[in-house]
Amino acid sequence: MDESVKPTSRRAFLKGTAAAAVGSVAGAAAAGTPDPLITELQDWASITGAGVDETPYGLPIRFEADVIRRNVEWLTASPISSINFTPIHALDGTITPQGCAFERHHSGAIELTKGDYRLMINGLVDRPLVFTYEDLERLPRENHVYFCECAANTGMEWAGAQLNGVQFTHGMIHNMEYTGVPLRTLLNEAGLGATRDFEDKWVYVEGADASSNGRSIPMEKALDDVLVAFKANGEALRMEHGYPVRLVVPGWEGNMWVKWLRRIEVTDAAVESREETSKYTDVYADGTARKWTWVMDAKSVITSPSPQMPITHGNGPMVISGLAWSGHGQITRVDVSKDGGITWETARLGKQGDTKALARFYLDTVWDGAPMLLQSRAMDETGYVQPTKDQLREQRGENSVYHNNCIQTWYVNAEGIAENVEVS
C-alpha cells in the first residue's frame, strides 16, 4: 500500500530524512561519537536477571507504568459509581489486555467466588432453572472477539472539544476474546415452548452486585449472538469485568453487558429499568428522547499521534495509527485526512474479518513538519459512513450525552504536539 506515499511527497520524504537525521541523535552515531550503549559493557549484558520463581503472574515492566486506566475524579460523585478509561493511546493491535480495560461500576466491583455463583433463568420458560458455574462449563462453548463500548464514550464531546486525550475522549472501550456459552443454549435448556411465538418477547438480565443493574434485550438479539462468558483473552474474567460470569452483547452498548450475571428472565414486555429510561436514552434538541438505542454505530479514532502521543521524532517517515469498530458488523474501510476533511486517503486495515470487533488501521506516511488536522472516518459492511460532529448535531442537538460516534479531530502543530479541537 504505498498509495499513501504519493510521488508528490517523495521530495518531502527526502527533505524529511535530512531533518530527522539531525533531530534524532539518540540512535545514531551523531558527529562521529560512538554510542556508549554499544561500545561499553552494560550491566544487563553481564549480570544475570530475574529468575523464573520471581514473578508467578506478571505485570508489565515498570517502564510501562504510565500505561494504566485513569479516572477523572470530578466526573462523578463517588469512585464507586464511576468510570475509568482504557489507555488506548499507548496500545497497538486490537486486543485490550484485561488489566487496563476500562471499568464502569454502578456500585463498585464485587468479589464473587465460582462456588457462590448461581445463575437463574425464570419467567416465561417451561422450566425455571438454576445453574452453577460448573454447569456452565459443561455446555458447548464458543470463542469470539468483540468490542465493548460504553454508550457514554465520547459523550462529553457533544458540548465541543473537552478533555485533551484520546484515553478520555474514546477510552470507554475494550476488545477481548471471550469464551462462553451462547445464551440461546441456556434458554433452550429452560425451554421456550411457553413463548413459541417470540413476538414482543424480551429477555431481562440482571447482575448480582448491589446495583443489580438490569436491562431488557429483545428475544431476537438474545437468540442471535449473545454469549454468557466466563473467560476473556484466555483467562478468567477480572473482578472488575464481572468475575466469574458476564453477559456479552455484541455490538450493543456496554451497559447491557451485565456483569456478575445472576438472573435471566423471559418477559412479555421491557422492564424499562432505570438504566433504560433515566439513563442510556438520548435527549434531542426539542426535549423528546430516543429509547432502545442499543446498537453502537460505526466509529473510529486516531490513537497516535494524539494529545498523549505527540510526534517526538521530527519530520520524516511516520505511522498514523488508530482503531475502528461498528456494532453493525465488519469495518470495511477507514479513511484518514490530514487537513481537517478536505482531502482523504484510505488507510491500511491492520487486520480484517472480525465482526463487531475493533479493527486496527495504519496510514504509513511522511510528515513534512507542517501542522495537521488529523481525522479518521470509518465505513462498515452496511455502507454506513461515520458522521461529522455537525451531521450528528443537526440530527440530535447537543444534549444527547450518549452514542456520540462523530469524527474526531486532532490539531498537530509544527512541534508535533497534538490537541483535541473542533473544526469548521
Binding site: 473537552q162 485533551n164 446495583s211 429499568s273 458488523g329 478536505i342 472480525d354 513538519g369
Partner: protein
C-alpha cells in the same frame, strides 16, 4: 446482515388518548410551552404510527423467519474469523441446571414492569416517606430530593428538557413510576441496597412524587394504583429511529478530494489533562485561544515554517520507585475490607478529602465534628462544643448504632453488625493516625 432492532413495535397508545393527556396536562398548569411541545410530539407520533403499520408487517414476516435465527446466527459466526466452529445445537436439552424453587424465584425476581406487574403488596404516603427519606436518602440526595454536591437530583427540572443542559429527574424525565419503585427497592440506599421494606419503598416513592409536586402528602400509593400513575414525561420517548432518520442518509459514498474549501479551528480542548505517575488525572482549564492557529485549504495549511521542528521530549517519565506495602497486620487488612462499607462517603489516607462524610485521617484524638470545611449536623456541632474526643471506645459505640449514639446525625448508615468488624475498622483507621 445485522438485523434491525426495530422488530419490537412502539408501545404508543392511540393518538386520541395522547391528545387527552396533553389537555390533561395543560389544565394542570404545566404551561403553554409544555402544551406546544406535547402537540409537537403528537404530530411526530402520528408520523411514526403510519410507519409503525409498515413495521408491523415487516415484523410479522420476521417473526416467521425467527425460527431461522439460530441457523443464521451460525452463518454469521462463520463469516468473521472463525475462532472455533459454532457450538452444536441440541434437539432436546443437555439436562443441566436444576429446577428453581418458588422461594428462590421470589427472592430474586423482584423487578417491576411498567404496568405494575411484579409489585409486592404494600402502601405508603409522602408524610411517612419524608421521614424515611430524611433518614436514609437525604445525606446524598438532599432533604427535598434536590441533590447534594454531585449526587443525583431527583426532583424538579420540569420544562428544561429542551434547554441546553436539561435537568433530567424522576419528575421531569422518568416515563414510568414502576421504575422508581424498582430501582429504589433493589439498588438504594447506595451502600445498603436491598434493605428497604415494601412499605418503606412505597412511602419513599410517594415522597419523591410529592417533592416533584405531582401528588399531595395524603395520597396513598399502593401496589394497586402505582402501575396506572401517569408520569409527566410518559410520552416523551420515541423508539430508536436512527435506521429511518440517519442510516438511510449516511450510507452514501464519501467524498475524497476537495471536500471543503477551507477548514478553521473553531474550538480548542476545554481541559488539559495531566497523567501523574501515581495514577488518576489532574485536569485544568486550557488557557489557549484559537486566534493565531493556522487555517487549512486544499493548498495546505496557512503556515510559515520558522525553523526545523524540534523533537519534543517524551511526555511522561514512569515512576521508578515501587511502594513497599506493609501487609504484616492481618487486622488492618481486614479493616480495609470493612472500610468498603464506608467508602461511598468517607476517604482516608494521603490526600483524603471531605466527601459526603468528613475525611477520617488522624481520627483518634480528634474532637468530634472538627474537620474544617465539613458541614456537620447539629448533634456533631454540640459534641464539638462539649470537646468530646474520638477514641476506640467511642468509635466502637458509634459504629454499632450510629443513629442511637449520635441522635440526629446525618450519617445514613445503619451500623456494623458482624463480630470483629468494629475491631478491624478501629485498627485500620488507627493506621492513618499521626
Amino acid at each position: 446482515m445485522s438485523k434491525s432492532p426495530n422488530l419490537v413495535l412502539p408501545a404508543i397508545g392511540g393518538i386520541a388518548l395522547m391528545l387527552g393527556v396533553a389537555y390533561g396536562f395543560s389544565s394542570r398548569n404545566y404551561g403553554a410551552d409544555t402544551f406546544a411541545l406535547l402537540e409537537d410530539r403528537v404530530e411526530k407520533a402520528e408520523a411514526r404510527m403510519s410507519s409503525a403499520s409498515d413495521q408491523a408487517k415487516a415484523a410479522a414476516e420476521r417473526v416467521t423467519a425467527l425460527e431461522l435465527a439460530v441457523a443464521e446466527a451460525q452463518e454469521q459466526g462463520a463469516k468473521g474469523t472463525n475462532l472455533t466452529a459454532p457450538a452444536p445445537q441440541m434437539e432436546g436439552t443437555y439436562g443441566l441446571g436444576r429446577v428453581a424453587m418458588t422461594e428462590e424465584i421470589a427472592a430474586w425476581d423482584v423487578d417491576v414492569l411498567p404496568d405494575g406487574r411484579g409489585l409486592p403488596e404494600g402502601a405508603g404516603n409522602a408524610f411517612v416517606g419524608e421521614e424515611v427519606f430524611a433518614d436514609k436518602c437525604a445525606s446524598c440526595h438532599g432533604d427535598f430530593a434536590e441533590g447534594v454536591d454531585n449526587w443525583p437530583v431527583l426532583s424538579g427540572g420540569f420544562d428544561t428538557l429542551a434547554d441546553k443542559d436539561p435537568v433530567k429527574t424522576v419528575g421531569s424525565y422518568w416515563p414510568h413510576l414502576s421504575t422508581v419503585y424498582d430501582y429504589v427497592y433493589r439498588s438504594m440506599p447506595f451502600g445498603e441496597a436491598g434493605t428497604l421494606t415494601p412499605d418503606e419503598t412505597y412511602a419513599i416513592v410517594a415522597y419523591i412524587l410529592y417533592s416533584n409536586d405531582l401528588i399531595d402528602d395524603e395520597f396513598e400509593l399502593t401496589h394497586e394504583n402505582l402501575g396506572s400513575f401517569e408520569m409527566h414525561n410518559k410520552y416523551g420517548f420515541v423508539i430508536d429511529d436512527r435506521p429511518e432518520l440517519e442510516y438511510a442518509a449516511w450510507r452514501a459514498e464519501p467524498c475524497m478530494e476537495n471536500c471543503k474549501d477551507a477548514v478553521e479551528i473553531t474550538m480548542r480542548s476545554v481541559f488539559l489533562v495531566e497523567t501523574p505517575a501515581e495514577g488518576g488525572t489532574n485536569s485544568m482549564m486550557n488557557p489557549a485561544k484559537v486566534e493565531g492557529l493556522p487555517s487549512f485549504s486544499a493548498a495546505g495549511p496557512s503556515f510559515i515554517r520558522e525553523a526545523t521542528p524540534k523533537p519534543v521530549k517524551a511526555a511522561v517519565e514512569p515512576a521508578l520507585e515501587t511502594e513497599q506495602v506493609d501487609d504484616g497486620e492481618a487486622m488492618i487488612a481486614a479493616g480495609k475490607k470493612v472500610f468498603k462499607k464506608c467508602k461511598a462517603c468517607h476517604q482516608v489516607g494521603e490526600g483524603a478529602k471531605n466527601k459526603t462524610g468528613p475525611h477520617l485521617n488522624d481520627l483518634f484524638g480528634r474532637t468530634f465534628g472538627s474537620v474544617d470545611g465539613f458541614k456537620y449536623s447539629n448533634t456533631f456541632k454540640t459534641a464539638l462544643d462539649e470537646g468530646r474526643v474520638w477514641d476506640e471506645a467511642s468509635l466502637a459505640e458509634f459504629l454499632a448504632k450510629p443513629k442511637a449514639y449520635m441522635k440526629g446525625t446525618k450519617m445514613s448508615f445503619s451500623g456494623l453488625k458482624k463480630g470483629g468488624d468494629i475491631e478491624a475498622i478501629n485498627a485500620y483507621l488507627a493506621a492513618f493516625g499521626n
